[in-house]
């Protein structure tokens, strides 16, 4: 899902501003409606258009008493309340609005944004994601805000990799209106906090990590390495630091990468991603025993982690235990059906096991997923 919405964001143009009218609700007041309702609706519209917000809110509320399911009234009431920072009341109006029009991406977005303001974070994340799945039309300003809030809430709920993907998508879109360095630093260090929740004595550490992540993404490797050195020197015992440096080093200087990952496990004994990276590295080196050991440890610590199943499956296949490997890879696929890497592993494993029909099925799935990603 993250990949889909990330590519959708990149496809957005930058040529517009907030245009509620582009996606207006259906039921404008009609002449045949009861006079008092129609009068109120018209008066509310006029008040809104004349920026008399308090009067507009009052009249929308009066009109909604007469016609509670008036979706246009609910939408404008919700937006006016949101703009006045009356987020709790905005939530109420917008919940009713999206109940009436569940395909209104902008409705879910504004609801999620209101819920973020009142710190109902789990609900806000659900609704912001819902808005991204449905789509936000051509409203770039709103899209950027929704992507940003979704990303920082993913990080807060310990979905670091998904959060980081969204943040990099935002950075790649060229819109840096919301500052991305701290959120990227939090995701890179796997700290489940919002930027406002960063402990004061580690804000600099988070900024350094974020800046290093930005430099890496921009392929400014010398700058990234300098920042990593400073980070390691200033915060040698903080959880997450050695994993971040190790994740980079495994590509550039694999022996150093292994040392960093091992150091991370000393500091954070239950660190699952460090074990997965080590298993992958040892697998690459054909050191099956070490790969198997780290993969097993990762799975023991995180039995529901698809990556742990994946790397154990790859290791078992590489060790010649095709049947055992397939079982792990199938579990990984069931946990994460859209991951193409798992499907390719299964194609190879099924083929090696002489299970051609299943290998073909996986190939079809890969094609379907590729087409789906291309569409989005």
């Amino acid at each position: 899902m993250i990949a889909i919405v990330a590519s959708a964001l990149l496809a957005l143009t930058s040529s517009f501003t907030l245009q509620v009218s582009a996606a207006q609700p259906r039921s404008a007041p009609r002449a045949s409606d009861a006079g008092s309702f129609e009068q109120l609706a018209v008066a509310a519209t006029q008040a809104r258009e004349q920026n008399r917000d308090d009067a507009a809110i009052h009249m929308y509320r009066q009109a909604l008493k007469l016609k509670p399911d008036w979706d246009e009234g609910l939408w404008y009431l919700g937006t006016l309340l949101y703009e006045k920072d009356d987020d709790r009341e905005a939530c109420e109006a917008l919940r009713h609005f999206v109940a009436l029009d569940s395909k209104a991406g902008y409705g879910w977005a504004l609801l999620g944004m209101s819920e973020f303001q009142v710190r109902e974070y789990p609900r806000a994340l659900d609704h912001l994601q819902q808005s991204l799945v449905i789509g936000l039309g051509d409203n770039r300003k709103m899209a950027v805000k929704v992507y940003y809030l979704t990303a920082i809430l993913l990080v807060r709920s310990e979905q670091f990799d998904d959060g980081m993907s969204l943040l990099f998508s935002l950075a790649a879109s060229g819109d840096t209106t919301p500052p991305l360095v701290e959120p990227l630093g939090l995701a890179a260090l796997r700290m489940p906090f919002l930027p406002a929740e960063i402990p004061a004595d580690r804000r600099e550490m988070v900024r350094m990590a974020g800046a290093a992540a930005v430099a890496l993404k921009a392929q400014r490797y010398a700058e990234a390495e300098r920042l990593f050195s400073e980070l390691e020197a200033a915060y040698p015992d903080q959880p997450g630091v050695h994993f971040l440096i190790g994740a980079y080093s495994l590509g550039a200087h694999p022996d150093d990468g292994i040392k960093e990952m091992r150091r991370e496990i000393e500091i954070s004994p239950s660190h699952v991603p460090a074990r997965i990276r080590l298993a992958e590295e040892y697998l690459k080196r054909q050191d099956m025993d070490r790969a198997f050991s780290f993969a097993q440890e990762a799975l023991k610590l995180a039995p529901d982690d698809p990556l742990a199943h994946l790397v154990l499956g790859e290791t078992l296949v590489a060790k010649g235990d095709i049947a055992g490997g397939i079982l792990q890879l199938e579990t990984a696929r069931d946990h994460s059906p859209e991951a193409v890497r798992i499907r390719w592993d299964l194609v190879r494993a099924y083929t090696a096991a002489g299970r051609g029909q299943e290998a073909s099925r996986e190939k079809s799935e890969i094609e379907r997923l590729s087409n789906q990603n291309a569409v989005h």
Binding site: R88, E197, P239, S270
Partner: protein, 383 residues
Amino acid sequence: MLLVFPLVALLSVAASTAPSGPQKSFDTVVREAESARKTDRLTEAIGLYREAVRLHPSWNQGWWWLGNLFYEQDRFPEAQTSFAHFAAITPKPGPAWAFMGLCDYEMRDYAHSMDHFQRWVDGGFPGSSDLLDVASFHWALLLTRQGRFGKALYLLAGRAARKGESPVLVEAMGLASMRMTNLPEDYPPERREQVWLAGKAAFYASQHNFDRASEYSQRLLAEYGSLPNVHYFLGTLDKFHSRPAEAEKEFRRELEISPRHAAAMLELAQIDLDRGNSAEAESLARRAVQLEPMNPDTHHILGRALLDARHARESAQELESAERLAPEDAAIHFHLATAYRGLGRKQDAARENSAYIAIRKRDGTLVQATGEPEAQHSGKEQQ
């Protein structure tokens, strides 16, 4: 509420004596409403159920489904109103109390929320396992807000056993562990890390994964070891891990940081009781009572210390105070029964024993319904 019943009765009679046309219309509306609900046409179903209860306001099933549909759409004020109608015309509203508690919570009416959850609890936690899960979680949040941290953690540990780890559960456990009378929505952002680390440690401890719990508790200690409640929490983890000597050190360290920490005093008093040192236990508990006279635990532990020292009369007085403050605490009834027996008050002892059994039985319903580990229950009275 008084006005509702006559009106409902009147309308009900009107409906039942109406000509067959309107009656048929009601049946048709009900059929269509149920069809819409079962096929997930929720907005349409809401309109039809509204029409049905307008035609027949005493049709409690209509109010029930209307409440459920509104709740499903997060439309809490309307859900609350519907469940209130249902409760007003239904002899045993059962799960509706839980739904009303949840709606009140979402509308930030915490006093009514507690009241409705309590009615739900008194009724034996009726409802589906999903409702039980959500309602007991929110009840735990409110217990934390009231400062009833132990009870909250007990409920949250049950959820941990059933559902495993989740960010919301970790946060809730962290707040209760740090003895913060806050909800997840309203605690200071600068305390997020402390709450998260404590929540992780509490979660893994509840899973008896003490190595992993220790990883987080040591980080908590390293970052926040000089703040109140951290050493107390570490002491409770040690106690849960059956390491009384380490627990005692942590509780004493907490008292150095927070000299008026009544809960740490009570923990030390219980350690003294376990060692048969009732005089020291009594001294600590008396200090705790002075600091927190409205805390039932202070009177409870003092009552136990006095019971141990064979001062049954004074013990009974303290336990009666505890009982007044926490009538739902089974352990208090258990110890009060013991005190009464010591005083030869057999009838009072029997009454307290019955209360103890009734509460345990009711809590057992929760244990059975949620699949909570019985081990977390057992032995509480002996502590």
